[in-house]
């Protein structure tokens, strides 16, 4: 491997270019018409245009990306996150073109991209999944009580054909079970033309905790501890941290063990993340999904274990990674990442594209990482996601990290568009957050208070 093409844009493209350069590789950027003047283009040794602004015509067009690699003489492709990173056909096309794919085996991308298959693989590996029942076609209520008792209450009746919260009803005890199931069956029949339902455990107060793994492709793997990503708005993470506050050590160990079992089962190769729902009260945990790529929040892990995950990905792909022993991975202190978004928290977090007339970020240092694809004077377009920057801090403990994050956020100055800076500050100052009582409903339940400050 001599030359690496980054099939992405923004902060992650810059971050990959940085590690690739440190490893002595020539770097190639790709860019859409909207990004010709972007920082990631300036950072790379060479940059190749790949089409119009809409992502489907540029960053999502695998054939154009592979052509760009040929044009620029790159012999490896790093996909970053999003765009083509979990696209098995693209990974295969990269390899078929004689290029090195810096990512998991395409079969892993395919298997984990299919929720039902992923659940089956997890079960086979002995990883706990959310308890669920068999399917009950319309009119079928046979042994319903017994199925519910196995799952336990509260539970959800879910329409098989539903999704995104539609066709879903909560049942708190056996007395209303049959009535709710029949009602959901008939509602689903009308709404989706399929009255089949199933029962699933409901976790009223859930946390989102994920385990960072790194597989060597031969059935061996290591984990790099957890990240708590419970603070979310519109199912998007806004604050991530490690270690997860208040998570009992035995829960963390059990989650890490489950994550490693899944890596072993799939002979997983490279960086990956296994997401779990954790019951905030009982600490019971269930497999949610596996992300087969580097994640947005990977710097949180890098800060506490002092490793470069992107360099590890590149080294593994070029056969230069010497085996890492689990015992070598140690956790130090506490890290927090805050995602600065171009959005208006006082208007239900609606996107706020526009010119960055002022864009001052604090200066990075040993315990403060700043990752951004933007500079003052750039325009945030409507074509891509609204993330402006990630601020990642490290401290000896959680309180110190909170204070460092607050100091970093207070040094952020953006004019020209709305941002969620004040919302992030309100979260970090919130007594509930400070106590470590985070859960996925935290933002929704406190949204008025958290967005009271001007955006």
């Amino acid at each position: 491997m001599q030359s690496l093409l980054v099939a992405n844009r923004g902060e992650i493209a810059r971050r990959i270019i940085r590690s690739a350069r440190e490893l002595g590789l020539r770097t190639v950027a790709v860019y859409s018409e909207a990004d010709s003047g972007s920082a990631h283009v300036a950072d790379a040794d060479t940059a190749v245009p790949i089409g119009p602004a809409p992502a489907r015509d540029s960053y999502l067009d695998g054939a154009r990306v592979i052509d760009a690699a040929r044009t620029a003489g790159a012999n490896a492709v790093h996909p970053g996150y999003g765009f083509l990173s979990e696209n098995a056909e693209f990974a295969e096309a990269v390899e078929a073109a004689g290029l090195i794919w810096i990512g998991p085996h395409p079969d892993s991308l395919r298997a984990m991209g299919d929720k039902q298959r992923a659940r089956e693989i997890a079960e086979r590996a002995g990883v706990p999944v959310v308890p669920g029942s068999r399917r009950f076609a319309i009119g079928d209520i046979q042994d319903l009580d017994r199925a519910a008792a196995v799952i336990d209450y509260p539970l959800l009746v879910k329409a098989s054909a539903g999704g995104g919260g539609i066709g879903m009803r909560r049942v708190d005890g056996p007395e209303s079970l049959e009535k709710t199931v029949t009602a959901t069956q008939s509602m689903a029949q009308k709404a989706f033309g399929d009255g089949t339902v199933f029962l699933e455990r409901f976790v009223p107060k859930a946390r989102h905790v994920e385990i960072q793994v790194f597989g060597f492709g031969d059935g061996t793997a290591i984990h790099l501890f957890e990240r708590d990503c419970s603070v979310q708005r519109r199912f998007q993470k806004v604050i991530e941290e490690s270690p997860a506050p208040g998570l009992p050590p035995e829960t963390r160990d059990a989650m890490a063990e489950a994550a490693l079992a899944l890596c072993k089962e799939t002979e997983y190769r490279g960086a990956g993340t296994i997401e779990f729902i954790v019951d905030a009260d009982s600490f019971e945990f269930f497999f949610l999904e596996m992300n087969t790529r580097i994640q947005v929040e990977h710097p949180v892990t890098e800060m506490i274990v002092d490793r470069d995950l992107v360099a590890m990905q590149i080294d593994l792909a070029r056969g230069a990674l010497t085996g890492i022993d689990q015992a070598e991975i140690e956790m130090h202190g506490h890290a927090i990442e805050c995602r600065l978004y171009a959005e208006n928290p006082t208007k239900m977090f609606m996107p706020s594209p526009g010119p960055l007339d002022v864009f001052d970020l604090p200066e990075a240092g040993e315990d403060l990482r700043i990752e951004s694809g933007y500079r003052a004077g750039d325009v945030v377009t409507t074509y891509y996601d609204p993330m402006l920057a990630k601020l990642i801090v490290h401290g000896p403990d959680r309180m110190a990290a909170c204070e460092a994050a607050l100091a970093a956020l207070r040094a952020v100055r953006v004019e020209g568009i709305h941002t969620n800076r004040d919302f992030l500050i309100a979260c970090l100052e919130d007594a509930g957050f400070r106590s470590g009582a985070v859960y996925t409903g935290f933002v929704d339940d406190n949204v008025k208070r958290l967005t009271a400050a001007k955006g």
């Binding site: 171009a342 959005e343 208007k347 609606m350 996107p351 706020s352 594209p353 526009g354 409507t382 074509y383 891509y384 996601d385 609204p386």
Partner: protein
């Protein structure tokens, strides 16, 4: 009958038009859907009325405060 302007709250691209000229609309009925930063955001009718004018087409770029349609109330 008075005509009122329907403005967008956000900057984005027009993705698709959901209503037709002459159509009776209730408050909050979607007139069109914008796309911005990977989100789909509907532009809804501010009041009950009849759609009399659509001022944009799919793929147009609109900025916050742009008048995109008019309704008669």
């Amino acid at each position: 009958m008075p005509t009122i302007d329907v403005k967008t709250d956000i900057t984005g691209n027009v993705w698709k038009i959901e209503a037709e000229i002459g159509q009776a609309l209730s408050e909050d009925d979607p007139i069109m859907i914008l796309e911005s930063m990977k989100m789909e955001i509907p532009v809804a009718s501010p009041e009950d009325g009849t759609l009399v004018e659509i001022l944009v087409s799919p793929e147009d770029v609109v900025t916050e405060g742009t008048v995109v349609a008019r309704i008669e109330v």
